[in-house]
Symmetry: C3
Subunit: 260 residues, 3 copies
């Protein structure tokens, strides 16, 4: 069976996600619907783009990603389908798809225009239900993207801030904080290795210095800080059996420096 994977900022308090699933199943009842997350901070396009980029490749080839973080709903922003090398992505053209589709390799972008496939009437505020969900469902039944509109030449891009090297310092920042309070930085494993080579180093966050990267949380004593390469492939700052977010009182955007 094919899969449609959902990523939204709709939360769980309302019936939004359930209704979108109802719409999908009305069109195609032979489908696996998977929730990636619905707890994206409301309107936070960058957070959703980051999670989508770090999720899509774990899914089966042909999976359809339905991503709705859409503060511009009802305005001029375009609803789009992006066909990449291995997947299909459906959502608003506000950058939320851009990190994932760029990595997988864009093959075609379609502006969704064919109203025949929309729910009627189309509401002013919930295109997730009225446009994106039915389009994803028809795609999952094998309908080709070109059926739904005309080709676009480009999509809106967003960027995750890149770390910078200034002399003997690698300067990064916190780009995500997970449920355990682990601080995910934008410093990837390859960059880290190239920068450090085999030299001694100190990772600085606030007044704390960490001089090694461990392979498990329990490599340091309970409640002690540590650095580890996390599941996103980035350097993370953690506390064994605790929350680094609380310990450091740190938020997204907070700087991390590595000195050699």
């Amino acid at each position: 069976m094919k899969s449609i994977a959902l990523l939204t900022d709709f939360g769980f308090a309302d019936n939004f996600i359930g209704v979108m699933k109802g719409v999908i199943l009305k069109i195609n009842s032979n489908i696996n619907i998977v929730d990636i997350s619905h707890a994206i901070e409301p309107h936070n396009i960058t957070e959703a783009a980051f999670l989508l980029k770090n999720s899509y490749k774990y899914f089966r080839k042909g999976t359809i990603f339905l991503t709705v973080v859409d503060p511009g709903v009802g305005s001029e922003r375009k609803p789009i389908i992006a066909r990449t090398k291995n997947y299909l992505f459906v959502g608003p053209d506000n950058g939320v798809l851009s990190l994932a589709v760029k990595e997988d390799g864009i093959e075609r972008i379609i502006k969704i225009e064919n109203k025949r496939y929309f729910l009627k009437p189309v509401s002013d505020t919930f295109h997730g239900r009225d446009i994106f969900a039915p389009i994803a469902a028809y795609l999952s039944k094998g309908k080709g993207p070109s059926l739904f509109g005309r080709t676009l030449n480009s999509i809106k891009q967003i960027n995750i801030p890149n770390p910078k090297i200034i002399r003997n310092r690698l300067k990064g920042e916190i780009i995500h904080i997970d449920r355990y309070g682990n601080l995910v930085t934008n410093i990837g494993k390859d960059l880290f290795k190239r920068f450090i080579e085999k030299k001694k180093f100190k990772i600085k966050i606030k007044n704390t210095k960490i001089d090694s990267v461990t392979k498990s949380y329990q490599a340091v004593r309970k409640d002690q800080p540590l650095a580890i390469f996390g599941s996103f492939g980035f350097l993370e700052i953690s506390i064994n059996s605790g929350s680094a977010k609380k310990h450091f009182n740190a938020n997204k955007g907070y700087p991390i420096t590595i000195a050699i």
Copy 2:
């Protein structure tokens, strides 16, 4: 494949929903189980009835709605099945099903009595698991409602407060607040149009007056209030890129007046 759609106040902290799904899949493993919401305020029958009414019609004909907001579990309230024109509804007879089944058209009400289909022993506190989930699963396998008990002539009704017209004022109230802090009123689009005709109007909430209904959140400047017809079909008060709940410090039941 058929669907069973769940709506409860069980939350996500416990194993309640997972266990109900286990019970359903033990009886019928060829079924799509969809969560409408489990974040209904504990024991808030009216909120669940409102969300059910605004969800059911997006689902495929024949879907079974399993709705458990059940403060009277273990008392004399009746477990029921309601067959409507297009769907089946299962839940306690406390009003939670009443808005949806009335709208779709009641064809038959059955009081669930046939203990042969219950889990044993039936607990005093969790009929969702022991009575409602197995009945929904057997219905999804094609068993007829009359197998489970005898016909009732009526069900318990609840009502959402209706807006009132007093001279040149239309007086409504907030009946739902969504995850973004949008204030959903009980003023429907048709009523609004009939009342306004083509006259000028002012929508009043607290000390704020809004004199138009927009088609998108971005039709006003950032952090400014606006009125829009939302996905429920009701007039909503919102803040572009913000929370109207926070901005107005408003709760359910708070009045909205439209003056011409």
Copy 3:
């Protein structure tokens, strides 16, 4: 269709659960994936073990339980498969599986070692995605546990505190608090009946005394405390239409005494 049931402390803020489901569906797309709960308190092995023990038996024979509460990820703790009389359990050997597998009857324990079935590279922090999810998926396709490693003789045990009888007092404690604020004790129905026989009794929590066990929350007046046997099979302290957690300001571990 077979089921894989998930129980983790991953929460809903990240993409962890969605990605694990993607990994499972890539290997076996003909599977029902059911969430038992993902809201286990981070690293709380005992809470997860308690919920697993009180969930598994409601699922169809052959269901695979994928349980990941894993503070020791990356350290020496062993990844295991436990085959019991009716089910398969996959998770870390830290006690989280122990209550359920002991009750259902252990038939075989396998230490997961065969890297051929892991995702590559295996991360240091997310064995749920890289080891446990693929193993569960291969098991669901009918691959035998012995394919994945060698037999172990024992697993790590944990225990829920047992109530004690001291003269004419039965002393228990709160072991779980559910979403409604009901206080679940460790006093089971059988023990209670044997202790009380047909004598009069008083259940004491803080300064409150309750002298009967009711069959429904509504058996007492609104906002009044009551004792009831809950869906876990244990004695629970509740408030009709309210939260006993708030009323008593009680936490896990808080004592309950029954005096005859």
